[in-house]
Amino acid sequence: MIEQKVIEQKIVEPEEIFFKARREKQFITGSEAVREAIKRANVDMAVSYPITPQSESMHLVGDIYAQGYLKDYYRGEDELGVMSAVAGASMGGVRVFTATGGPGTLRAFEMFPTWAGARLPVVCAFFCRGVNSPLTIQPDTIEIGFMLDTGMLIFHAETAQDLFDMILKSFIIAEKPDVHLPIGVFADGFFVTHTRELVEVPPEDIKLPSYNPYMSPVPVMDMETPPVRQMRDPFVMKSNFISYAAHASWQQEVRAAGERARKHIKKYLGGFLETENEDADILIVASGTAASQAKEAIIRAEKEGIKVGLAKLKVLRPFPAEEIRRLVKNKKAIIVPEFNITGWLAREIKSVIEDNSRVVGAPRVFGGMTMPVELISNEIKKQQEALNECKYS
């Protein structure tokens, strides 16, 4: 048992900490960016369990617990135990954080739709890695594809800066009474967690306002105060239409809450995507570090006289279907580079646009392979050649 310290910090409005406070540059890893975000997030409790490449981030959160930034912190028995404990903490009305990745995500999987169904505003960082056998601990984003239909909101960070900002802002978005859903902030393992970059952070003596569980759309498990001595009672105790209709309506409401998040995401994240060269005929749509590689490929293409656009998706749930439809309206080719074998992002884009034969689900690497810029450059050249053939034939 360590002596409980408390760090003195001033509570400020979210807008102050997100947009107005003076920021200083720190040369830190993605894991350290997690620590810096949690320092300022007024988190009550964190529960950890090690899994590469996430382990260091929650270890660092443990360090700041010892310094007095959190009220409680412990290591769970495994990821399912951790995510269940996190659910209990959130139901009890505290702001809670955890992180996992790869096999940890899959071991805990039952809890993610449970969090969403119970309307728990948990924020969880996921550091993506391969999950298949034979084992790889290396980067692979296949788990994002698995997570898309859990009912959680899904953000995808490209950089440590994104990771810092998204985690901090997620608490405020997740806790809005009309949203009140868990948010998964995903980042590509190693590429983001284990590399250093300049990250701009506000002062560490300020923090977000506390979570107010009495604004929750579901009763907080406050055992001292009626009327809230009730759990999310299951209703399918009888095989009848009414029970099933209630369950159906409940699921719809979880998805509706995701739709309501759009307004808040636009306000705090500045939109669902970031774009470059919107008027180009060829567009790359990417998320995470695939967007970093795409940016480099765009610079190289420009040197060769080919103009290429970029849409970096920051948010995958709710999916920015309208924004993508508008962006690709007059595009001749849409290149989607991905770090997974299934191509879940290409699939998502194909499902929301007209004439989806324009979507090129490539390049695709997986199992821990890197994505050399040349792979994207080759796709750009192929598409440009095809366009030239159309033009002159």
Partner: protein, 196 residues
Amino acid sequence: MQKVDYPVLAGPEGYLSPSAASMGVVLPDEGEALVEGRIVPEEEAMEKIAEKLLSAKNPFFFPGPLILWAWNEKAVEKAKAVKEMTEVVPAKIIPMPDYRPKYPTINPREEINPNHPNLTIWHNKIDVCVFIGVHCHYANLALKIVRGGTNCYTIALCGEYGHEDAMITLRDVHTEKVRQLTEVIKRAKAERKGRR
């Protein structure tokens, strides 16, 4: 999200009606309200609520746990203000004391439950109802089921951001706004009396 002009009207809409949010209906900002899926100024929505309640054959209020239980001073004050509003209309009251599904069966004369609100509405032949003091998730749960299976016109007076699944919703409804709405109803009632 499918962007369509989706009017949120009294049902019965169907076997499994969609959530209004999934059909592109967006919650109002401060000072605004929703009437049948359209964002309007709050004052306009209050007039519409008064009109609906005063022209109803059998209006009912469904107060939920947030104002049924004296869990803080504000809840007590709000409950008193709501009671006063029901007397002005006049409307009857059926409480929603908690959210646990009632097995083997609910007594629809005595209470309403968000998991099967249609049973209470059918039994009492309610044509206009007001949800107030119900936690947002459970209000939306009930409002969708009511729209799907009954012809009842729903009004949701929300202490937070409002409810797209109601035909009319006000947001930020605390004691003062309850009293403000009561005054609107009183005035509308007097005008109706003058026209007779």
